[in-house]
C-alpha cells in the first residue's frame, strides 16, 4: 500500500517541498530508503523502527520502501524522521490513510518516540501555507515560531504518540507551558552617551540614509558604547521585515525560545577573529553568516584593523549588492545581507595618535596599522568621524544633550519616509543606495552649494567616487531639514564627515 506526506528541505533560507513516499508491499521483509539522502537521513530508518517498537507497534514483516522526492535535492538532517514514521503508519493502516492529505510534517525522533526540536521551521511552515497545506505538524519546541503563521492548523507534538492520537481522534496536544523568567533587558538609550555631539550627529545621519559609518577614536572614547545604541535609532521592524529576519534566524536555529519571532533590529558584533566563513556563511550546506544575521540591522566590527584582510574583503560584494551568493558543488545559495556596517578603530596601535604626548607609535607603525584596511573598503564607508576622548565636564553631564533614542528615531523615520517616496519608482529605498547614474538626478545642488562643491573638489582633491559619496550624504542631511535642493550648509557638513582619504593617513 502506498502513502505520501509532505515535508520540506532547506536550501539556504529558501525552502523546497519534499514528498515522503512509503510503500508497504508483499515480499521479503526489508526496509530500503532512496532519494539522494545523506547518511543522517538514511539513519532515520533505525530511529523510526526503534521508536515505533518502543510504542508497541511492530513493523509489518513486509517489504517497506521509502522514497524522498524530488530526487535532485540533497536531503540532509533529521527533519524527515517524523514524516517517515507517519508515512509508514499510514501505509500500515495504523492511522487513517487520508489524514495525511494536505499535511506537512517536520521533526526529529528519539528512540523512545520523543519529538525533538529542529531548525528552519518558520520558513517551512510559511512554505507549507503557500503550497496549499491545511495542517502542519511540528515539534512542540518549535510551536511558538510555527504558530506565527495564521490561517492554518499548526499542531505541536512532543511525542510520537501524540501525533498518532491526533490523526486518530483529532485531539490537539496541550501547549507546553513555559515559565519564562527572563531578566528585563538593560534599556539602552542614546542619551546615555556624554558629550560627543559630532559623533552622535554623524550616527544620526548614517542611520537616516543607511550610510555605512566608521568611528575612529582613542580607547575609552565611547565608540563601542555608541555603536551598541545605534539599533535603537532605527525604526521598528515592519511585519514584513520581522518575518524576513525571523526566517533567517529560524534557519540558523537562533530564534529566542520565549517568542516565536525576532522583534528587535538585529545587532551583530562578531569578534575580530571571525573567519571569512563565519562572516559570509559557510558549511557544506551553507548556514547564514554574520552578515546575513545582521540583515536589516547593524553589523558592528569593533577594532576593524584587527580583522583579517580576507574576512574584510568578503564584505565588499554584499555591501554593493545587499546579498551574498555562496556556491557549493551541489547548488548556489543566496542569502540576503542588507545591513548597516558600523566599524570602530583606534587611530594607531596605541590609540592616542595624533596626541603626540601620549602616542608611543612610530610613523611607520601608524601607517602600517591604517593600511590594514583596504581603500575599496574605505570607499564604502560614507560617513566617517573621529571621536575625541571625553572631557570631565562632559562626563559629569553638564554638556549632555538630552536627545533620546525615541526622538532621534522619529526624525529618522521621517527622513526615511521622504526617501522612500522619492525612490518609489526605483528599486531602492535609501540615499546610500543611489547609483552614480541617479546621483545627478536626485542630488541637485543650489548655486551656492555648487560653488562650495567646486572649491572643495579642487582644494581637497576629491575623487569622482568621493564626490558621489559626498553628494549622497549631503542629500540625507538636506532630507533631514526637508529641503528639496541641497544647500551650501549641507555640503559643508557632509565634507566634514567625508571618508578617510589615504593622504590623511600619513
Amino acid at each position: 500500500m502506498f502513502t505520501r506526506v509532505q515535508a520540506a528541505a532547506l536550501t539556504g533560507v529558501q525552502v523546497a517541498s519534499v514528498w515522503v513516499e512509503a510503500d508497504v508491499s508483499d515480499g521479503l521483509p526489508t526496509f530500503s530508503m532512496v532519494g539522494y539522502l545523506s547518511s543522517e537521513v538514511r539513519e532515520a530508518q533505525d530511529r523510526v523502527r526503534t521508536a515505533l517498537r518502543n510504542l508497541g507497534i511492530a513493523m509489518p514483516p513486509k517489504k517497506i520502501t521509502i522514497n524522498l522526492a524530488p530526487t535532485d535535492i540533497r536531503k540532509e538532517g533529521a527533519r524527515y524522521d517524523l514524516p517517515i514514521a507517519a508515512a509508514i503508519l499510514a501505509a500500515g493502516n495504523y492511522i487513517p490513510e487520508n489524514s495525511l492529505k494536505e499535511t506537512m510534517i517536520l521533526g526529529e525522533l528519539g528512540l523512545d518516540g520523543q519529538v525533538r526540536h529542529i531548525t528552519g521551521v518558520l520558513p517551512s511552515v510559511i512554505h507549507a501555507k503557500e503550497s496549499g497545506c491545511r495542517i502542519c505538524i511540528v515539534p512542540m519546541d518549535n510551536l511558538r515560531e510555527a504558530s506565527v503563521v495564521k490561517e492554518m492548523l499548526v499542531v505541536g507534538v512532543a511525542h510520537l504518540e501524540q501525533m498518532i492520537e491526533f490523526f486518530r481522534s483529532g485531539e490537539i496536544p496541550d501547549r507546553k507551558e513555559e515559565i519564562s523568567e527572563k531578566a528585563e533587558d538593560e534599556k539602552l538609550d542614546f542619551s546615555d552617551i556624554c558629550g560627543q555631539e559630532a559623533v552622535k550627529r554623524a550616527a544620526m545621519i548614517a542611520v537616516s540614509g543607511f550610510h555605512n559609518l566608521l568611528l575612529i577614536g582613542p580607547p575609552g572614547s565611547g565608540k563601542s558604547m555608541l555603536a551598541r545604541r545605534i539599533p535603537t535609532l532605527l525604526p521598528e521592524l515592519t511585519e514584513e521585515e520581522c518575518m524576513e529576519i525571523s526566517k533567517i534566524y529560524s534557519v540558523a536555529g537562533l530564534l529566542p525560545e520565549d517568542s516565536g519571532l525576532i522583534h528587535n533590529r538585529p545587532f551583530r558584533a562578531p569578534h575580530h577573529t571571525a573567519t571569512p566563513q563565519a562572516l559570509a556563511g559557510g558549511g557544506k550546506i551553507p548556514k547564514p553568516g554574520e552578515i546575513t544575521l545582521a540583515h536589516k540591522g547593524i553589523l558592528f566590527l569593533d577594532e576593524l584593523p584587527e580583522f583579517s584582510k580576507r574576512s574584510l574583503e568578503i564584505l565588499r560584494q554584499p555591501l554593493e549588492e545587499h546579498k551574498i551568493c555562496i556556491s557549493r558543488s551541489n547548488a548556489t545559495y543566496e542569502f540576503p545581507a542588507h545591513f548597516l556596517l558600523t566599524a570602530a578603530m583606534n587611530p594607531c596601535p596605541c590609540g592616542f595618535y595624533p596626541d603626540m604626548n601620549r602616542c608611543a607609535c612610530s610613523a611607520t607603525e601608524v601607517i602600517h596599522y591604517r593600511n590594514r584596511i583596504s581603500q575599496p573598503l574605505l570607499d564604502r564607508m560614507d560617513v566617517c568621524v573621529e571621536a575625541p576622548a571625553v572631557s570631565y565636564l562632559e562626563l559629569k553631564g553638564q554638556k549632555n544633550s538630552s536627545l533620546s533614542s525615541k526622538e532621534i528615531r522619529n526624525t529618522v523615520k521621517r527622513v526615511q519616509n521622504i526617501q522612500r517616496q522619492r525612490y518609489s519608482k526605483l528599486p531602492i529605498s535609501f540615499n546610500s543606495e543611489l547609483s552614480s547614474k541617479y546621483v545627478e538626478t536626485y542630488c541637485v545642488l543650489d548655486r551656492d552649494a555648487g560653488k562650495v562643491m567646486q572649491k572643495a573638489f579642487e582644494k581637497l582633491q576629491l575623487s569622482a567616487r568621493g564626490y558621489h559619496r559626498l553628494l549622497k550624504v549631503a542629500r540625507t542631511i538636506a532630507d533631514m531639514e526637508e529641503e528639496t535642493l541641497i544647500r551650501q550648509r549641507h555640503i559643508q557638513e557632509a565634507i566634514c564627515y567625508r571618508s578617510l582619504d589615504k593622504k590623511y593617513w600619513k
Binding site: 575612529i216 595618535y353 595624533p354 610613523a363 571621536a387 572649491k455 572643495a456 550648509r489 566634514c496 600619513k506
Partner: protein, 325 residues
C-alpha cells in the same frame, strides 16, 4: 678606489661593476664623483671617514654659500612641522642652503619650506638616488633636483636598509655649517646626526619646546649640554654672519595675528585654534555655533588657507604666511 669607506661587504653586492654603474648613471641622469676628483665637496674631504664616492641628481651644495641642516622626528607634531617650515623658509630667504634627509615629518617640512621660499635645498638619502624613499615624499623627490639636489653615497639600486641611515647622517652634518634640531624624542635618530656634527666640529642648535612634551626632550637635553637655543631664525643667521638688519627690511615670515579682516564668525573660530590640532568636538565647546555652522566655518577657513585638517576631524592653524601675505 682602495678606500671603500665603510661600505661593507654585504652591501657591496648591490654595487654593480664599475662599467655597469657608469652606464646606469648616464641613463638616469645621475652624476657621480669620487673623493679623489676635484669637484668633490671639500667639506666632506675633511671628515674622518669621507664617502668614497657620491652620487647625485640635480647639483651639489655650493661650497661658498652657508648651509644649515634641519633634522628632527619623523612622527612630529603639527607645531614642529610648522616650525621646521618657518625656519627653512626664513633661512632660505636669507640665502642659506637647507640640507636634510627627505624623511617624513621634520625633514620633509624643512625641504618644503625651502622650496616654497624658492631657494636651494639638498636631500641626502640612505638609499640609491634612483629610489624615492619614503614613497610618500615623492613630491619632494620630483622637485628637489630642479632646486638643489638629491645626494647619496650609495650607488643606484641600493635599497633603503636600516643600517644605511645612521651612516648617511654623517653626510647631512658634514655638508652643513650648522645643525638645527627641531623636534626629537629622547632616543631619536636625529641625535646621531648631532653626534656626527659635534665630531665634525659643526655648531648645533635646538628648538625649545614645552617641558613635558616628549617630542622636545631630545632638544632640551641638547640645550642642557650646550647647544644653541633657536627661538628665532635670526639667531642662526647671526651665527652665519648674515646681516639680519638688511633681511628685516625684506617682506618675509610674519606672525599671523587676529587682524586678518575676516568675518566675525570666522574670526571667532580662528581665534580658538592654534598650532596644536584640536578635535572638532573640542572646538565646538568653545564657540557658540552648532555643528553645521562650525563645519561650514572650518571649511571656509580651509579654503582661505588659514586652517588645515591635519588628520581626520582635527584642525590647526596654518601659520606660514609668506610673501603673498
Amino acid at each position: 678606489m682602495e678606500n671603500k669607506g665603510i661600505i661593507d661587504n654585504n652591501k657591496r653586492k648591490y654595487q654593480n661593476s664599475k662599467m655597469d654603474d657608469l652606464n646606469n648613471c648616464m641613463q638616469n641622469e645621475i652624476h657621480t664623483v669620487t673623493r679623489f676628483e676635484t669637484n668633490y665637496p671639500p667639506k666632506l674631504q675633511n671628515l674622518l671617514d669621507p664617502p668614497a664616492q657620491l652620487y647625485w641628481k640635480g647639483s651639489l651644495p655650493k661650497e661658498e654659500r652657508p648651509s644649515v641642516a634641519i633634522v628632527g622626528a619623523r612622527l612630529c607634531s603639527n607645531y614642529g612641522k610648522n616650525v621646521a617650515k618657518e625656519f627653512a623658509y626664513a633661512l632660505t630667504k636669507a640665502g642659506v642652503q637647507i640640507i636634510s634627509g627627505m624623511a617624513l615629518g621634520i625633514d620633509g617640512a624643512a625641504h618644503e619650506g625651502a622650496l616654497e621660499a624658492g631657494g636651494k635645498t639638498y636631500a641626502v638619502l640612505g638609499c640609491g638616488v634612483d629610489r624615492c624613499y619614503p614613497k610618500d615624499n615623492v613630491h619632494l623627490y620630483r622637485s628637489i633636483p630642479q632646486n638643489g639636489g638629491i645626494i647619496s653615497e650609495f650607488s643606484a639600486g641600493m635599497p633603503p636598509l636600516a643600517a644605511n641611515f645612521p651612516q648617511r647622517n654623517r653626510i647631512i652634518s658634514g655638508l652643513a655649517d650648522i645643525i638645527l634640531v627641531v623636534e626629537a624624542k629622547e632616543k631619536s635618530g636625529s641625535l646621531i646626526t648631532v653626534d656626527f656634527a659635534l665630531e665634525q666640529g659643526r655648531t648645533v642648535y635646538a628648538v625649545p619646546g614645552r617641558v613635558h612634551d616628549p617630542l622636545s626632550e631630545g632638544c632640551h637635553r641638547l640645550i642642557a649640554q650646550g647647544a644653541g637655543i633657536a627661538y628665532k631664525p635670526e639667531l642662526i643667521l647671526e651665527e652665519l654672519h648674515i646681516d639680519t638688519e638688511k633681511q628685516q627690511n625684506k617682506k618675509r615670515y610674519k606672525e599671523r595675528n587676529s587682524k586678518l579682516g575676516l568675518a566675525t564668525n570666522l574670526e571667532l573660530v580662528y581665534s580658538c585654534l592654534d598650532l596644536q590640532p584640536q578635535n572638532m568636538e573640542t572646538i565646538l565647546g568653545k564657540v557658540p555655533f552648532d555643528l553645521q555652522e562650525l563645519s561650514g566655518i572650518l571649511l571656509e577657513l580651509q579654503f582661505l588657507d588659514l586652517v588645515e585638517e591635519t588628520t581626520k576631524n582635527y584642525y590647526a592653524r596654518r601659520n606660514i604666511g609668506f610673501d603673498n601675505f
